[in-house]
């Protein structure tokens, strides 16, 4: 597989490190060729990771170096009682090598960098992509350079250093582009934009210079969901969204399966944004083709803090086929993230909580019927919510001594309290919803 195609005008390009169509300046995507249903048995015979979808991946090296990324659990949700959705599945991306969905895209990007003879890889991130680049670069033997804002705290930098990444703090100077894209730091953003004009540096940026390949990693989420459901598509997919890329590329992934005859229907796509940063939902409501950029977006969900969503207009196209979009307060997302951890035993990041909160609202609004099968994407593990743990002043943990009487007394009072308020549900029965759900 080696052909690239302009998303807007369809111009074809041979494989190269290109990001934009030279005819219309539209984004360029990888595309699949000559895949039919016979590929199913080949896929099923391979090791369970996203690399089992080899025929769909834009790599020429069949022995790509990776971290067995993907093949994350698709868990049937039994206990999110109040939601009352019969066929609810949680696609939990927290079991990826660096605990987020970005491992999929970084894994493909880095292998492409190797194919293009790069010996180093760069990124401008302090979050999911940075962690993933550091880890995959270490695994593949590439040198990684991670550009971070000048004020990045050492707690974020240290884990990257432990993988052997070279972290560089980029300080502001006059003439920096005032950028509202991902990362939202003018200095780092200006630097990587300027780097794009200097291929001789031989330091491709994982999600910019290699973005065509990076995007194809998101498609593997769709392949997996379909296979895990027995090669069929769910009725609905709910995605927490920032840049619009995940939605557009998951939509493309399902379309590829559909066109190859591997599934018979396409799902409807629903996106959930934080109300502090919802340019795509805003465009949907105001019937704009292209989202208007938002200055200084505010949300605790770092992966969703994208004021200028690069793939916003394409995400809007993906949800037009029967889907919808909704904005939810961070506070509600955090409450749902904790509820999922308590009820299902998996702790998602806040953006995952936001997605489930959005699903509840979409059901209440009649946009999604509780009888339809629905998959919610939980992009990362809750351990990624670094900032919040540090700043929550209300966290109180009881203290006891090693004296066993201390523990006995504590358990007795605790159990009497619980006996008076029966909040535990029996498996399979609807629970009494916690206070914040009842209002």
């Amino acid at each position: 597989m080696s052909v690239l195609k302009c998303r807007d005008c369809g111009t074809l390009y041979p494989e190269a490190m290109i990001t934009s169509c030279s005819e219309c300046y539209g984004p360029v995507d990888t595309c699949i060729e000559d895949i039919d249903r016979s590929v199913k048995s080949k896929i099923e015979s391979r090791y369970p990771s996203m690399w089992r979808y080899l025929e769909f991946l834009p790599v020429n090296n069949t022995r790509a170096v990776n971290l067995n990324d993907g093949w994350t659990p698709l868990l049937r949700s039994n206990k999110l009682g109040k939601i009352g959705i019969k066929d609810l599945y949680l696609k939990f991306e927290g079991t990826n090598p660096t605990q987020s969905y970005e491992d999929r895209s970084v894994s493909i990007s880095i292998n492409k960098a190797i194919e293009f003879n790069s010996t180093a890889i760069g990124c401008a991130s302090t979050h999911y992509i940075a962690d993933s680049v550091a880890a995959h670069a270490a695994r593949t033997g590439l040198k990684s350079y991670i550009f971070v804002p000048d004020n990045t705290p050492i707690e974020i930098i240290y884990p990257l250093l432990s993988y052997g990444a070279q972290v560089l703090k980029v300080y502001k100077q006059e003439g920096d582009i005032d950028c509202q894209c991902h990362g939202n730091d003018p200095a780092t953003c200006t630097l990587v934009t300027r780097m794009a004009e200097k291929p001789e540096l031989s330091l491709p940026i994982v999600d910019l210079d290699l973005r065509t390949y990076f995007n194809s990693g998101y498609k593997t989420l769709s392949y997996e969901i379909a296979e895990q459901l027995g090669w069929r598509s769910p009725d609905n997919i709910v995605i927490p969204e920032g840049s619009g890329s995940l939605t557009y590329n998951m939509y493309s992934g399902f379309k590829e399966l559909y066109e190859s005859g591997l599934i018979e229907d396409l799902p409807r796509f629903f996106i959930v944004q934080s109300s502090g940063c919802a340019p795509i939902v805003d465009a949907l409501i105001h019937r704009k083709e292209i989202p208007t950029p938002l200055r200084n977006p505010v949300t605790l969900c770092e992966n969703l803090r994208v004021g200028d969503p690069a793939d916003g207009l394409y995400a809007l196209r993906a949800i037009k086929h029967g889907g919808y979009g909704i904005a939810i307060e961070d506070k509600e997302g955090i409450e749902y993230a904790e509820l999922i951890a308590k009820k299902e035993g998996i702790s998602p990041d806040y953006s995952g909580g936001l997605a489930v909160a959005g699903l509840v609202r979409l059901c209440e609004d009649g946009k999604i019927s509780p009888t339809e099968s629905t998959v919610v994407v939980l992009p990362a593990s809750g351990i990624k919510n670094r900032d919040y743990y540090r700043s929550d002043p209300d966290l109180k943990v009881p203290r006891i001594s090693s004296n066993i009487a201390d523990l006995q007394l504590y358990l007795e009072t605790e159990r009497t309290k619980l006996a008076r308020t029966p909040i535990f549900e029996k498996p399979g029965e609807a629970s009494v919803p916690p206070a914040f759900l009842r209002t």
Partner: protein
Amino acid sequence: MLRSIKQSNESDHIRWFREKRVMTIREVAVRFFGVISSETGHKEIKICTDAKNIRELVVEICDKYNSLKKKLLSSEPSALNKHVRCYVNGMDIRLIREYETRLMDGDKILFLVSFQGG
């Protein structure tokens, strides 16, 4: 001042017009980034222009580089291609006054193709 008017032998009206015109000529630096510069052949140009805003400047640039015209402009009248970003002194024009953003002498204008990632 008085003497110069007499020497130039121009009517007050024409003189006023000429001075006004001189005042509205601005020199701006225009930077074409990445794939756009392959169309212009230059990465950076200095333009002396009487364009009052970005809308007029874009028209002037398109007159100068004919092959850029069909790529820089969208099919809708006086709108940039949706993949092209324009910055004036580092500010995205969509966050200020879009195409009506006023030009000042010494402004730095940047055109680039949006290519941000996930």
